[in-house]
Amino acid sequence: MNEIIFNPAVVEMREASVSALRDTTLAVLENVNWSVLSGEFWVVAGQPQSGKSDLLLTAAGLLLPARGSCHVFGCETNAFGEAQLAERLRVGLVFAGGQLFSQLTVAENVALPLRYQKNISAAEAAPVVAALLEMLELTPFADRTPANLAAQWRSRAALARALILKPELLLLDNPLAGLGTRASQWLLGFLDQLWHGHEWLGGQPMTLVASTDVFRPWRHAQRKFAVLDEKKFSALGAWSEVEAARSPAVKELLAEPAGTTM
């Protein structure tokens, strides 16, 4: 007898209209229908200003859809409040520029969510923070402020900050932007480890959604792909379908970025 495995949607948008963060009266995407299932790795590509960041902010519950609905772990984001904090903390978000707190050092940035949510002192949080910084090769930069860090280390510190609470869904806004080849390869390898179950997460596979403005570095048979174009969200499916797509927008996003060979 075949066993039926129920895989609930981690993020589910239905007829959702995504607003812009800077002006919530402006819709950047219309009628988004999207389901992200547990354990999937989605790559959402689009040109700059196509609404990638706003889509991720909506999926994280930080922006409300102007129309339609968005559910995260079964909870409608309209209802996100103090009572739903536990659901919210199952989602990690890495912003495009890192958005680290400029007054705090890297170690303090990484420790902050843990200290705030668990109400623990800096000394109590230190071993966990040190382990995470070590894992992300950030130990030499622990005492630096974000202004004194190169872009690749800032984005890595932002990733560490998002991982400290061990989320089940990780949203990454254009994580490869501004990274060199080696840093991009390291990040892609690390995200694959998270996807398949990293020891930091106790071996539990993670659900990932990354946005990008170029498809090719993300090529992988098991990842799922989507494209944003002219206010529309189109789920393409596996890599083979991306390559087979005839849309000019997809072809443009498939173009090899200068200086990148992966």
Partner: protein, 286 residues
């Protein structure tokens, strides 16, 4: 969390005005300014109530993170300003108190010295001057820090981490500024009264320190202490609310920060004067 800021902002959604056509007459302009002023008052009121709600509801939450921030804000809006306030107290004593004492002595009206000092220094000049100086020194820094944090997306980052920006950023500033202004006012009053007597003594005014301070203590009533505490705490609370509201409650771009800082300081001064007027009425009624 997200809702807290959004609620205050939606009440004063200035986008409507940014897209509106230019006023066609002075009446239109006046009406628009009045409407904007009312919206700002509404937004500030909502922001104050939200902050008060968070302050009361979350006072036990994340203490290991919030308490060091409160200590930092008390230091910034209080302890760090003490040297400046000692200087201001000496100057105030020499310029105002000493001359007043000297003038009253010349016309033989030293009997009124106590009540004059209490009205001028304890009730009015001490709290108001402290509030305006703290607004200038710390309030502007608040708007710039929070406005920059908002423009750089740090507020969204806090929300993404499940951290309430009002609890983490505003509550420590409100507590720090309220306690800072309260404490600095006390030091300013004591310093000004003491240096005022020294100035009067140097001018050979026939008044012993014992008589001088006796008159002042006799002119002070329990109401002066109660209203002084209430007034300084209210100054601190509302200055923090006005500056934090302008820095944080509205989405900003970096180029907006300086303009918003000027607006916040102007509104801070207006709020202080209005509060002062309310307390004058209270003094007159009680």
């Amino acid at each position: 969390m997200r809702g807290n800021l959004a609620k205050a902002f939606h009440l004063t959604n200035l986008q409507v005005f940014r897209h509106a056509v230019a006023p066609k007459s002075y009446t239109d302009l006046l009406g628009r300014k009045l409407f904007l002023a009312l919206l700002t008052v509404q937004g500030l009121g909502a922001f104050a109530l939200i902050t008060l709600g968070v302050l009361l509801k979350k006072h036990r939450m994340a203490r290991s993170v919030v308490q060091p921030r409160i200590r930092h804000e008390i230091n910034r809006a209080g302890v760090a300003l003490l040297p400046m306030f000692i200087f201001i107290a000496l100057a105030l004593g020499f310029l105002v108190v000493g001359q007043t004492v000297s003038a009253l002595a010349k016309v033989g009206a030293t009997d009124y010295l106590g009540s004059t000092m209490v009205i001028v220094i304890v009730r009015e000049l001490g709290p108001l001057l402290t509030a305006v100086l703290v607004l200038a020194r710390v309030g502007t820094a608040n708007v710039i820090e929070l406005g920059t944090a908002r423009a750089l997306g740090e507020v969204e980052a806090l929300e993404a981490l499940g951290i309430d920006p009002v609890h983490y950023l505003i509550v420590p500033r409100v507590i720090g500024m309220a306690l800072g202004i309260f404490s600095l006012t006390i030091y300013l009053i004591l310093g000004a009264l003491a240096s005022g007597w020294v100035f009067a003594f140097l001018q050979d005014v026939p008044l012993t320190p014992g008589d001088y301070f006796k008159q002042i203590t006799e002119a002070l009533g329990w109401l002066d202490f109660a209203l002084l505490a209430l007034k300084t705490l209210a100054f601190g609370f509302f200055i923090a609310i006005v500056t934090c509201y302008h820095g944080l409650a509205q989405p900003l771009r970096l180029e907006d920060v300086s303009r918003v800082a000027v607006r916040a300081v102007t509104q801070g001064v207006i709020v202080c004067v209005l509060l002062d007027a309310v307390f004058i009425v209270l003094y007159l009624v009680t």
